[in-house]
Amino acid sequence: MKPKVSILSLVAACAATSVWAADPDDAAFRDAFLSGNADWAAVEARAAEEGGVNIYYWGGNDLLNIWMDRVVAPAMAEKGVTLNPVRITGTKDAVDLVLAEKHSGKGIGQGSVDMIWINGENFATLKRQDALFGSFAQSLPNSVNLEWDESDPRAMLNVRDFGVPNDSAEVPWSGEQYVCAVNSARVADEDVPSTFAELKSYLEANPGKFTYVKPPHYLGNTFVQEAVYAHNPDGTGATPFQQSVDDIAPEELARLIAPGIEYLQSIEPNLLDAAGGSPRYPEDNKALDGLFLNGEIDFSCKFGLYAVAKGLEIGTYPEAAKQFVFPENTMIKNKNYLVIPGNAPNSAAALVLANWMASVDSQVSKLESVGMPSGIDGWKLSAEDAERIVNASPGLIGVTQAELDANAAPDTNATLVDVIEATWLEVIERDSTASIEEVVATAYANLGK
């Protein structure tokens, strides 16, 4: 048997072997800023001195790429900062790079990544590995656009990322909800499912006409989470999944997720291409869009409040596409963020960029051109600004905001995501003969639990 080296002991070992080295000047700036002793003008001046900022983000969205170059770069140039947008194929690549650099002794101010578009497990990894710049988000001037009062439940998405407290080490950038679209040229309105049971009977009548993105891709993970919520044997939906692995026993988690996983197993024989032997799960967003456009699948589920509106605008969605409420009550809603790594070489410029990204102007422009929903909170804005945001929206097609809000559900705790993801891979992809309980127990063990 292979010795199981836990992540935690690994981190401990790393901490022991590599002390967070530092460039003294950068370290002093970081300490001053985080303790509130640097005024914003000084930050901006320092940013201009640094002269550049490297933002790493998933480069698979052409619209976002255009917006970065066309809008963000000039806005930063005005502040004397050259934007270097690094397009990566997976957020984990940037996280790996930060950690690799950290482990090779590149400390404060000595890395190469200034900012990462992030959420969920990747953020949790950075946090666990102690590779964050620090609690900067609430010190940004534009943090007034966000709700930080934790007594307001609406503040949850700003302070917790996949259930993990983010300690303001990242600033919200965009809010999203997992929405499904139907090709109404192929499916009659009365056949559009709104529950998992209805989806199953649709698939029995129309085998092969649906699939979801393959976990561990976050679009796939989210679908699995929704199925798990909807099949929660206690009927408590998302609630128990807000706890971290530390607070929930593996047997309990296995009991909670088993019906959902079993459901996913049960629809497998009727998923795309299952007739040919094994069901096919697309690798990413684009592959999913391609299947949906060609009518290979009738429903496409992903994060994308305005995906249909934008997809019609650029020709990647079928003309008869429209959104629908699915699954009732468990449509996961979350935010994604911008994080500054601890060893960011241009931390002041990163702060300036983060601040600009939290501005009303940038959010309006992002909404208009990219169709990425606003990440700032409307009720914190002036009526005029709030209205600008509403007007900038490309629009929902087939559903209303009220319907979406009414069926919203929170994300699964990032630490549980790993376990659920591992369970899916083991049970569904690898057709493991082990029981779900055993699989969950193994996943826990792998996490060092």
Binding site: V5, E121, D418, E429
Partner: protein, 295 residues
């Protein structure tokens, strides 16, 4: 050896330093590091259990490793053989005269000049269920839903992967065989014909033994590439269980950093498997060469 001879010799050896430093330090170093890590030496992760064969043990002990290995070798072998047959046939046709030959000689080499990723893009647009072939079949009225089109990509039969390899490597083998064919000329074939040999006997007894060196070296390169290729099986493969390079890559990208050592064991396994097969191939070939009077 006189002093002068020694000086010349030393000067000559100095010229080898740059190439040796690239190959020994980087190439050799990478291999040694891979081996060390796969045996549990990774102090930068706080792991040092060297020598520790458990990574290989757990890898080789799992059934999916053998399935992955089988898939890797299956794709590599089938596509090399197909490319060999197609390439040799093409080379035999290309030595003949025909109108438009100059253009054809540009055309057939195109895949050689462009990256595999282009080949993958072509496979995607032609062979996927929503792709051009599927549409043509639909146009012919044979199917009315893309789901009815037989699945070519993303299956463990690997048609798509094989198609891309064959597309890219047929010109490569053609070129190698064609160059050898030009070198040997037509006379031995003519002599064989006059001696009474028919088409099959001429090819198998006279032509083939002479082009064999070109075939061996080009198939060797293709096979080794196919075993280590990543992009085609990653995009066009049938998913779990993946080919070994994809498995290794997935280990490296796993959230669990300790799996990188498992990944290294996979990498070393790829090297061992490729090495054993290629050496066996070369050994058999060398024996054959000796029998053919070549050294």
């Amino acid at each position: 050896m006189t002093a002068r001879e020694r000086r010349t010799r030393i000067l000559q050896m100095l010229q080898l330093i740059p190439i040796l430093s690239v190959l020994v330090i980087l190439f050799g170093g990478a291999l040694v590091m891979a081996l060390l890590q796969s045996l549990g030496f990774a102090p930068w992760f706080g792991i040092n259990t060297f020598p520790d064969f458990s990574y290989f043990g757990s890898l080789w002990g799992s059934q999916t490793f053998w399935v992955s290995l089988w898939l890797t070798l299956y794709y590599a072998t089938v596509s090399t053989l197909l490319a060999l047959v197609f390439g040799t046939m093409l080379a035999l046709a290309l030595i003949k005269a025909f109108p438009g030959k100059w253009l054809y000689k540009y055309l057939y080499k195109l895949p050689l000049m462009i990256p595999y990723t282009v080949g993958i893009a072509l496979a995607v647009i032609m062979l996927s269920s929503g792709g051009v072939l599927s549409r043509i079949v639909a146009f012919a009225g044979l199917i009315d839903d893309p789901g009815q089109f037989p699945q070519i990509l993303k299956t463990h039969y690997g048609w798509g992967i094989i198609a891309v390899y064959v597309w890219k490597q047929t010109p490569f083998i053609t070129l190698a065989v064609y160059a050898v064919l030009l070198g040997i000329g037509r006379e031995t074939e003519e002599a064989a014909a006059i001696l009474g040999a028919r088409r099959g006997a001429i090819f198998f007894r006279v032509t083939l033994p002479q082009i064999l060196p070109g075939i061996v070296s080009s198939t060797l390169i293709c096979f080794a590439f196919n075993v280590g290729a990543f992009e085609a099986p990653f995009i066009l493969g049938g998913g779990f269980p993946d080919t070994l390079p994809v498995v290794a890559w997935r280990y490296f990208n796993d959230a669990d950093y300790t799996l990188q050592l498992q990944g290294m064991a996979t990498v070393v396994s790829i090297g061992i498997v490729a090495g054993v097969i290629l050496f066996a191939y070369l050994w058999v070939y060398r024996r054959y060469e000796r029998r053919m009077g070549r050294h």
